[in-house]
Symmetry: D2
């Protein structure tokens, strides 16, 4: 079981490498991937990457309220489900698959969200999924340039695993990341993600996924830059300037 | 008849001075003021300033779709309307005032917009009208600092008449302001106002009225700065930096 | 100037007959028709009937909130407008026609209502305008059968002029129509139209236009029947029964 | 485990009697009640009736889209959950209760539905919960009078268990209930519930729960009456007439 995009740290797993590692061992383990905060924001390929179960949700890259979750299943996952003796009821795929074939759902469906999904998919298809991925990758790159310009560090250590959905930023020692977040919320009405677990107080997280464009990112980074300074972290204006220089060119 | 805030140029009339000038002549002319783009964004006082007729609309500072217009009337305006022999029907105040007294409107009212108005007034009252004015004045000051930082000129010549709702910016000679606007619309999905009449091609206008906060302004100014550079106007990053320095402090 | 559908009485003017009468005199008067409560509910043909100016609104058959008004103009009306010396400004067609040609409007347009109009026209076209007219004619016929079954009278005297948008019903002498309306509003949360001018207290009006179907009409007529009885008008259940008998067959 | 209101049959369980029966045996079994289609439509008292776990949903009496589910828990249920060794994760109350205490939810909450719930509860409280129950009981009584007038039978056998949320109606032998439903859907755009399991083709179900008033019921019953006749079931108009006679008086 792998989280494709780790929301609390801003790290994106290299799923194909994980699949290859499993295959190399000759083990027949199923590969399950959580794409809640990556689907429709970061390149992801259920079939091509040999994933057995993909779990996704409506409330991030699909730009909808929370309330829908999705599973994509490989043939092997279906076989495993059919032959498994684990007790199950609500989470059982069999009645769902049977109903889906006729365009239905075995329980009361969230019809209003399905209408929203229809509109969201229209938007994604009209932009083109590869363009959507490229847009988020570009925003993530510009965000990292801002962080670098501020003299701060991105939490993710391996550039191959930088997240295109969000960036977790380490604050200097002696600074409380939650105090920075509070100032930015109060002064600029912008809510940044908090550090979780052992990262509490050490990082704040900038989201740049879903329905997001260049000027939203510019406003977001301006808010972070001003908030850091108000919190006593004397970051230079170079941060935002470097990000904007990146946003001036398209690809 | 005076326009309080001239939307095409970003100039705000000094209404009390105009009233005083009329009074100084001893003439009994009525003073009519159009506040379409100033009401609930720029300080305005119908009674204290001795205005006879104020005309306002729903679609700017009141943060609603277009569709409602408002008149505030002085006692003298009412007397003039009663004694005037000018023919009138739809624009006649008498049936409206009579119906209003009972909470009604003589014709089919736009009830959905009235519900919206109720919500908009709640928001304005909860922020406090003086705070709303201050917010827009601060955004306008930050915008002018950006313009100055870019080495460009604000169209309004007299600092007492700078508009807090919008800022018209002169582009350097040889640059087509509409080309700048087009680039910004295409690249950053932001629509700036065009120059009208003899200002066509010479100015673009940045709106900062209504439901607007610091980070929206930061995103807006970032878009203008990037767009100018993409259009070949080599403005320095100082523009946005000066605006943000202003937005770091509150008053 | 003719009102196509007289909302206060439930009478529909025979516009072609009026046109023919004008033509018969050889007079070159323009024919102006108000279709506020008939457009997209009752058959109407601007060109075929030789109308010069048609006035319509968004808030009835077009199923939108109030806020848009429409004019259809004949060639003769355009010539008259061009050659007339009557002073005009806001109501002047010339700048509107010039802007319309390029898909614009000379003043701030109510864009949100235009999106609504787009959806409303899709619905009307998908049902088919002739079917829409037929639907309302059928509902009006069923309503009159109910009125007859109750032993009451429809206000409109000439069957050729029965309105398909609404039906005005005369209450028996000694009964206050507004008391009936009040009871129905309080008990059944349904608001009927009041009698206007000399019809005050003598009639109530049942609307059956716009987005309306058989069961809404059934509920409406049930509410009127119960309300009349509660108001002391001992109408028989035959009224609703006759209306339903009509709604059982389609055409 | 008891379903308070059985949606497929229109039968309401007498929960206090079930509680008494359990208590009479001296058994310490927990009592779990599903109130999906009864909450806020039919009298229900979690504490007074000694229920241990109540399960409810947003999409019926609470008048919201599907997407929220609620549990009310007795002290004994909490103890059982704490001491039980059954494996659980998503359905575990402990983290939810801990987060709820601070006004939060351990996972991504459906915030938009929570705003809707706030509005729905305002409406229910403004009508008064006992009045809401009385309204639905009255509509159910009127519906049964219609069924009786048509010469048909209500599926529920015991009058103490008639549902106030919905009424399942048996069609005469030789009639296909689904054919009746199809005609009503096609002709009158009204969707009735189908018979499930061994009731397939034998019953249709009339819902009268949630945001529902007298004239909606009148329209509904008119549609059923007309649809039955169109389907060849020659029911008399007495059905609707008897229902309306009931709706004429308030209590």
């Amino acid at each position: 079981m792998v989280v494709h995009n780790e929301t609390s740290t801003g790290v994106t797993s290299r799923v194909p490498a994980i699949r290859a590692a499993i295959d190399a061992t000759g083990h027949d383990a199923l590969l399950l991937v959580d794409t809640i905060s990556s689907l429709a924001s970061i390149e992801y390929r259920h079939d091509a990457w040999g994933v057995d179960v993909t779990v996704a949700g409506s409330q991030k890259g699909l730009m909808l309220p929370p309330g829908l979750s999705f599973n994509a299943l490989s043939e092997r996952a279906l076989v495993a489900a059919r032959t498994s003796t684990l007790p199950r009821s609500y989470w059982d795929w069999a009645p769902i698959l049977a109903a889906n074939r006729k365009g239905f759902w075995p329980y009361t469906p969230a019809t209003n969200l399905l209408y929203g999904l229809d509109a969201a998919l229209d938007r994604l298809e009209s932009e083109g999924l590869e363009n959507v991925w490229r847009r988020h990758a570009r925003h993530a790159a510009a965000t990292r340039l801002a962080v670098q310009g501020w003299g701060l560090e991105v939490l993710a250590a391996d550039p191959r695993e930088y997240s295109a959905s969000l960036t977790a930023v380490l604050v200097p020692h002696g600074v409380d990341a939650d105090a920075v977040r509070r100032i930015i919320l109060e002064r600029y009405d912008m809510s940044l993600g908090t550090g979780l677990g052992k990262l509490a107080g050490r990082v704040f997280r900038i989201g740049h996924l879903g329905d997001f464009n260049d000027l939203m990112l510019a406003g977001t980074l301006a808010g972070v830059q001003m908030g850091l300074r108000l919190a006593g972290v004397d970051v230079p204006a170079t941060g935002l300037a470097q990000a904007l220089a990146r946003l001036e060119w398209d690809d």
